[in-house]
């Protein structure tokens, strides 16, 4: 199962993303305008493991990530060398994908795995004026995300215009 997380508007997504992006083999997480932000309660780790206590349309993102055993593709506008607020919100609400206990991995503290699936991570950042410093930050950020998700970075790319994504996602 593939997973696609993007911050495109519905009309953009329809125009730019291939039809295969919404088949049975791919789960798509997009902005329906209702997502609420993580409140840092750790309920998804302690009170209701793997489920966020906020029961909106984004309450089971950790479990959704666990279904991904192929590739996680993220398409995000670049904000200061990181993800856009929506994509970051999805990431923040998905921390139950990992276990609250810690493990030392590559001589650094990270979270234990909760699930056995493994996926590769591909990220496309878009934006008209992404600076070199922002690109450097973004490259390091995605690697850090991969370290914490215990996954592998397949590709990190930067595009100036979102219309370029049509050629890159097939």
């Amino acid at each position: 199962m593939k997973l696609l997380i993007h911050d495109l508007e519905e009309s953009q997504a329809k125009a730019l993303l291939p039809a295969s992006a919404s088949t049975d083999n791919t789960i798509v997480i997009s902005d329906d305008g209702t997502i609420r932000n993580c409140v840092g309660c750790f309920g998804c780790w302690i009170k209701t493991p793997a489920a966020c206590v906020i029961r909106d349309n984004y309450g089971d993102l950790g479990e959704t990530l666990a279904k991904c055993d192929d590739e996680l593709v993220i398409i995000s506008e670049c904000f200061y060398g990181g993800f856009s607020p929506f994509v970051k919100n999805v990431m923040d609400r998905a921390i139950s994908y990992v276990h609250p206990d810690f493990v030392i991995r590559n001589k650094e503290m990270h979270h234990k795995r909760r699930y056995r699936n493994h996926f590769d991570l591909t990220v496309w950042f878009y934006g008209a004026d992404i600076s070199e410093n922002e690109k450097a930050t973004a490259l390091e950020l995605v690697q850090a995300n991969a370290d914490n998700f215990d996954c592998t970075v397949r590709k990190v790319g930067f595009i100036k215009d979102i219309s370029e994504i049509e050629e890159l996602i097939k």
């Binding site: 993580c38 600076s131 914490n148």
Partner: protein, 180 residues
């Protein structure tokens, strides 16, 4: 000088970010919060007869939602120094705070002749404070985009220990300091 201490934790109470800022705040006991009406707080810094002469005020803000109200934006725009304290979320800035920063960028960038310096203190549950590096880099990148001056950044690890102290011992943030 006007200084804003900005708590970027979404938690209403008991956050490590609040603890850090309170500890920082206590190091400037002579400077009080500015009054709600924007007038001088008449603290003791410049003497009761010349209230307002020093012009130094330290105000505290709490960004717990993804929007900043217009009054807070206007107050922040008048500051000389911004000090952010927030928790590390998935190697970066919490999404609600990211929205606030984007809003601030839009508000502050067009303002001419401002010399605002920005500091950031990021805390995480991992032992290694260096895991906050990417969030600090993003704050520095935000400064560049918003045309503000980047001061310094500090990454603090092991922050969960402080939270446990607050929770287990029933302490409130005001009862603790960074030295304990």
């Amino acid at each position: 000088m006007k200084i804003a201490l900005i708590n970027g934790s979404p938690k209403a109470n008991g956050s490590v970010s609040a603890l850090i800022l309170q500890s920082l705040r206590e190091r400037f006991p002579d400077h009080q919060e500015q009054r709600d009406d924007g007038a001088c707080c008449t603290c003791s810094t410049c003497g009761s007869d010349t209230s307002g002469a020093c012009g130094t005020c330290i105000n505290t803000y709490h960004f717990s939602k993804p929007q900043i109200n217009q009054q807070d934006l206007a107050e922040l725009a008048a500051c000389d120094t911004l000090v952010f304290a927030f928790p590390l979320y998935v190697d970066g800035i919490p999404s609600h705070l990211l929205s606030c920063l984007s809003q601030m960028e839009g508000y502050l960038k067009p303002l001419a002749s401002k010399e605002m310096r920005v500091y950031a203190i990021v805390n995480c549950g991992f032992y290694e404070g260096r895991q906050n590096q990417h969030a600090l880099d993003m704050m520095q990148n935000w400064c560049a985009k918003t045309r503000l001056i980047w001061g310094h950044g500090l990454g603090i690890g092991g922050a969960m220990g402080w939270r446990q102290q607050i929770k287990v011992n029933g302490l409130k943030v005001r009862d603790l300091s960074l030295r304990k």
